[in-house]
């Protein structure tokens, strides 16, 4: 069972977002943070202090795999790739997220 530590966003959503950004291909920490920021139109600012622990946690759980590579500007950077287990976890987390969002919506609409 993955450990769910509260992120800055909704609990557990940071892991979900990280995994989702990696579906398109591997990326480094900075890239992931930028991508989340861009895609959310600057709504989510992923702080380094939660990003890197989250990356370590996902690595520990075997959902992503780190590898040293070279960045676009020719620097050494650690790239994270989604593993098959990570893909499975992403599907599960997405479903779980949908369920929660739907439930929240229900409450908001009916209460």
């Amino acid at each position: 069972m993955p450990r769910t530590t509260p992120a800055e966003l909704l609990p557990g959503t940071l892991d979900l977002l990280i995994l989702r950004t990696l579906v398109r291909g591997s990326n480094h920490g900075y890239g992931i943070a930028q991508r989340v920021k861009e895609l959310s139109r600057d709504v989510f600012q992923v702080g380094e202090s939660s990003l890197y622990p989250a990356l370590q946690r996902l690595t520990l759980n075997g959902y992503i795999k780190p590898e040293w590579g070279v960045s676009d500007n020719n620097r050494r950077a650690r790239y994270y790739t989604l593993t098959p287990a990570g893909r499975k976890q992403l599907v599960a987390e997405e479903r779980e997220f949908e369920r929660i969002v739907a439930a929240i919506r229900l409450v908001l609409e009916l209460a």
């Binding site: 622990p53 759980n61 620097r75």
Partner: protein, 893 residues
Amino acid sequence: MRTLRRLAYWLRLSSHHADLLNEVEFHREMVEQDLITRGMSPAAARIEARRTMGNDTVMREEARGVWLWPSLEALWQDATYTMRDLRRNPTFTIGVALTLALGIGANAAMFSLIDRLLFRPPPFMVDASTVQQVYMYRTSRGKESGTGGQYARYADMARYSTAFSQFAGVSLKRLAVGVGEETRVRRVAIVSAGFFGFFDAPPVLGRYYTPNEDALPDPAPVAVLSHALWTTQFGARRDVLGATLRIDAVEYTIIGVAPEGFVGLWPYRPPVAFVPLATYGRSEGPPDWATTYGHSFGIDPIARRKPNVTIAQASADLTNALRRSYQAQYEGRPAGAPLDELRPRAVAASVLEERGPEPSSALRPARWLAGVTVIVLLIAAANVANLLLARAIRRRREIAVRLALGVSRRRLFGQLVTEGVILALVGGAAGVALAVWGGRVLSATFLPGTEPVSIITDARTLVFSGLVALGVGLVTGMAPMAQLARTSLVADLKSGPREGTHGRSRLRTSLLLLQSALSVVLLVGAGLFVRSLRNVREVRLGFDADPVLLVELEMRDVRLDSAATVALRLRLLEAAKALPGVSHAALRESIPFAGMSSYPIKVDGIDSVRALGEFDFNSVSAEYFAAMGTRILRGRGFETTDRGGTRPVMVVGQSMAKVLWPGKDPIGQCVRVGLDSMPPCRYVVGVAEDIHSESIEPESKLYFYYMPALQWKPQDGGLFVRVRGEASAMAEPLRRGLQREMPGASFVTVNPMGNIVGAKMRSWIVGATLFTAFGVLALVLAAVGLYSVIAYNVTQRKHELGVRLALGAGRFGVVRLVVMESVRFALAGVAIGSVVALAAGKWIGPLLFDQSPRDVVVFGTVTVVLACVAIVASWVPALRAAGLDPKTALQAD
């Protein structure tokens, strides 16, 4: 999977660390670059990037924390912190570790002994809890005593009992093993074939013997070697099978070798070989050895209870079997079965013989000694707690600072406990090393003549020591916490010696009092035992044990008729007298403290002599009284003229004379010794002083008389030889001198009589030695405790003492001030300890010999000793206090 990844991470901890650093650095650069692209100056961008990144140490710690077990991480930090700290204070560390080593070592050694005596099943034994040793009793003259040992009785018990699935007869004997020069007296296990079925110990070579080989009427001369004998004597050769080994009178064929560590039921007295019960019985016993109830081989039955049979049921079944055995024994005899008078009773007891139905002689002192070692451990723990406390108080400010910086009290607590545990474990390890040595001393004291067993390789003892160390560590580690819980942060931060906060710690004072009180208890015990031992040594036994050597004849298969045996004994007597260093030698039949002979006697005018008490005798030759140092009080001893054909004479003991002929002259009285209805008269020619022959304590209703060896069974027994100088040094020359006279494979053994008597004094010797050893140990620990507390107090009072000196107090006054504080502690300890010791007198009293447990001299001496120790312990701190330079002391801090 996670655990595996975690472990992999741990293995490459530093490289992961570097990776994380690089990664974060890359991130920072990217942020910086981003800011520059947005038009910020490089310098401002660098600062801004750093700012947005926030506290990257916290982040790194947190990222790393994902991988670590947080509690483990904390523990590791505490441990390294403690180690660093301990390395910085080597004196403190060594002092504490040594104190604990003494406490834990004593307990480990004691545990090992008690465990082996009481709890550990014999090695290789299958399901030892269902195996019972069988003890048999019968009542005679209203007194119940142990019985059994005959082959016929053992066979009956096996035949008539129904509650057991396995039954075997065992006997451990010291027998002559080997031939010629190689001959040594060694332990041999004489066991029935079924014995091996109790164990799961397949032989490493060959096989064990079968019931057929252990069967009547023609048992086989086969032997199984112990692994130890096989390796030492036979070089572990595989062709040993089929070779022969001479044990006593029989040439045994070796058919197997037992596995290493197989010692039967006797871990402390391992046998060198195992031979069939029937083979041994036939070789040693009379012709009717297998069927008579009149010849004991010392065979003890062991049996395995069937499932669902309780111990009580097993005992009842055995008692029943014993009754049937007695019925069989008395079958056909007139006058009805004596069963009502005999009241036979059998008990299924633990297979561990020390447990027995009654605790053994080694066990009783071992039990209370275990209590003593626990006291030593308490003292050691109190001492360590005290030292840790002193340190904690010294570090008060440091701790207050840490608290102020936000260290949680829980974490601080954890750190203190870690410190205690680490110290205790170090001490425990040193303790085990001490126990290896101490265990050897202990087993030599409690179980003399046995093989010492290693402690260092013994998992049970090691686990025990570890647990004790852990327990002590936890408790002592917590002691400083009790103090810290009360401290006020602000006061401590500001505090310094100058504040004059030399409030004595109540906890420390109590610990110190506990220590001195406990050492008083131990020292009083030591004093009482030392005096007991002195009293024991001063008891006049009626003979001198120390200068006397005991000669015994082992005939093996050499069968001499009576006349030839008498001739041999006389030749030995002459040979002994001819040796330089020998002052007197005499024939004797029995040996005091090793079983005296008894025979029915009749005295004219007394209806039943038996009703007066027990009359034992010894048949001895002319020089006996001189050789033993037994004084003749009236008349004469024996002369060489008292022999077969001359007038039958006897010498009686003083008490015997008094009880048989009160107020009359015993000389010339007639005593009839023998089984017949009217044996001939034997005339009293002398009165000898009384002797002790069973115990050192006063013996009542136990009387002695002597008959000339040449008039009473001149073929039985051996010699007593009195030597000049050290008896043990003369043993070997005497043995060699006598051995020349021995025919064939027969041989003599020579042992100091002091050993036999010494065995009877053992419980007092053990008590005196060990109480003294532990008492001194306790005293040393108490001295260390006093020293540390006084030295600490002096440091705390430096300022105050400086003021005193500056105001003109004399150096001597300061010394007295410090020393008196120490002495007051010690005297308070004496007061408390004395009360405890007086209360404990009730239990210790029965263990002492002719000694009140409330001896004034002992209590007085202990008080003086403790006061002296208090003065010595405070001397150095006192001198340091007196040597203070008032100026420095006042300016310091």
